[in-house]
């Protein structure tokens, strides 16, 4: 989780990510930043996030992103 938070804070400095309830609806993560984030997550956690995984539910909160990482790591 700490590594994920570090990546998110590097991507969007100054955002209190754990406190956010909807990163997509609140336009904190747009399609550009999602692509950048996916690249970082793929490298950092050795996973492959495909376009099917790129849905709002998986990027809504830090917990949702973390759950997706866990799921893809187990696959």
């Amino acid at each position: 989780m700490e590594e994920l938070l570090e990546i998110l804070e590097n991507l969007k400095p100054g955002v209190d990510f754990p406190a956010q309830t909807d990163l997509i609806e609140d336009h904190i993560l747009d399609s550009m930043s999602v692509v950048m984030l996916v690249g970082e997550l793929n490298d950092a956690f050795d996973i492959e996030i495909t376009p099917v995984d790129v849905i709002p539910e998986n990027f809504k909160t830090v917990d949702a992103i973390y759950a997706m990482i866990q799921r893809l790591s187990d696959d």
Binding site: S31, M32, V35, M36, V38, G39, I49, P51
Partner: protein, 529 residues
Amino acid sequence: MAYSSIVYLLPFLGAVVLLYNGMPKKYRWWVLLLASYIFYWLNSPTTLIFLLLSTAAVYLAGIFLNKIQDGFDLSKKALDKEGKKQLRKIVGWQKKAICACALLFIFGLLAFLKYYPFVSENINQFLKLLHLESTLPSLKLLLPLGISYYTLQAAGYIIDVYRGKYRADTHLGKVALFLSFFPQIVEGPIARFDQTADQLMEGNRSTYQNLTWGIQLILWGLFKKMVIADRANPFVAEVFKNYAEQSGVALLVGGVLFTVQIYMEFSGCMDIVIGSAQLFGINLPKNFARPFFATSVNDFWRRWHITLGAWLRDYVFYSVSLSKGFAKLSKKAKEKLTPFLGALIPSAAALFCVWICNGIWHGAGWKYLAYGMYYYGIMLLGMLLEPLFAQCGAKLKLNREGRAFRIVRILRTCILVVGGMTLFRAETVGAFGEIVYRIFTNFAPQHFYDGTLLHLCIDGWDFIAIAAGCAIVLLVSILQEKGYSLREQIAGQNIIIRWSVYLALILAIIIFGAYGSGYDQVAFIYGQF
């Protein structure tokens, strides 16, 4: 049979609602499918075959994808890890080949019917330059009604099945109805299979609320189309046709009025479309979210033609930017350049594909390509200059989240959008260049008040009707932007207030609508794509 025509609204839609509700629940989808094909045949009888071919192609491809997946699920149980890996690779290729064949077929039809005349003309001109005699034959092709919309729906369906988002549906009628549903076939919204297909098949009876809300929305759409868009049309048509004779002021007003016209017309059409579907209890995805409150061009495209933007994002932008090739490019860019440029270059390249597609989707012509590149250029510039803007803002101690700054950003976005719409409406890229040139070199500000503008096919009363209509739409939009649900508010009032609102809307359309002698029924602009 335009959606704003009496023939569509009363005999056609009325008869379908009556028949739909008169049928037993399990046969209601048949009414919708039959009505959809009749609607299509009445509008474009010779091109119905292309809709049927696209339907058959994605239906069959979906069934094959199901079979391959089922075969894999069955075989993998008996295999070890390495065996599964090998089989997954083979199955992956098989699925990719089937998906690619289906996409090639449906996009091939679209490309040939929509773009062949443009491509052949340009190739012939190029060959002429090289003094080569061989030329491609010029064919007069009929563009099938709604092909740009149903092709994207069909492609979205088959890509989703390929990606494993859901299984292909084995019910041919369901796939056929999803692709042909008559309210959305001409101008969208571009729906996804999991958004509308089940609703279309449910066959729920039209409730009182569905009927009243549907009629409300249809009336609101007619108001926007007939009172504002169609009334502005003669001015816009005149100014853009004879642009070389117009002053800068007339051209500028023409650009602004065309922006108003296209918004009122397209969003009005979407209101009629979504309202029509609501009569059957079917909720279509929304296509507009008050785009002129956008604070940036990116934000504008999140609010304007939402379903096209979402389609391009999900099937072009993510497909390209998350591909393995792009992952490598991104890695190399990060290693060799600054982290900012490393992150920017792959996104910029993927965005280029999106805007090329957006441009050519709108039409076969250089100006549409230029239209896509216009927005791409603005977005790219915005991305490149963002760090600089942030630095300047910090140095000047600007409150970038404040209300004043927000208003400035909204105005800036509106100006950029009017520029884009002017390019979109100009006959050619060259004509757009001349329009811009005349705005800056032959502005003639006195034309604002000396009555010149009142002699360009519409008079002062038309301008007053357009301005009053826009003021009403603006007021409603402000309330919606603040979170008020006007429809619920109206529905909650007593019968006198409720019906006063409805009657006022009907009277406004009858009294101020542009129709009858002196007005030709104006075809929906987005219906021609």
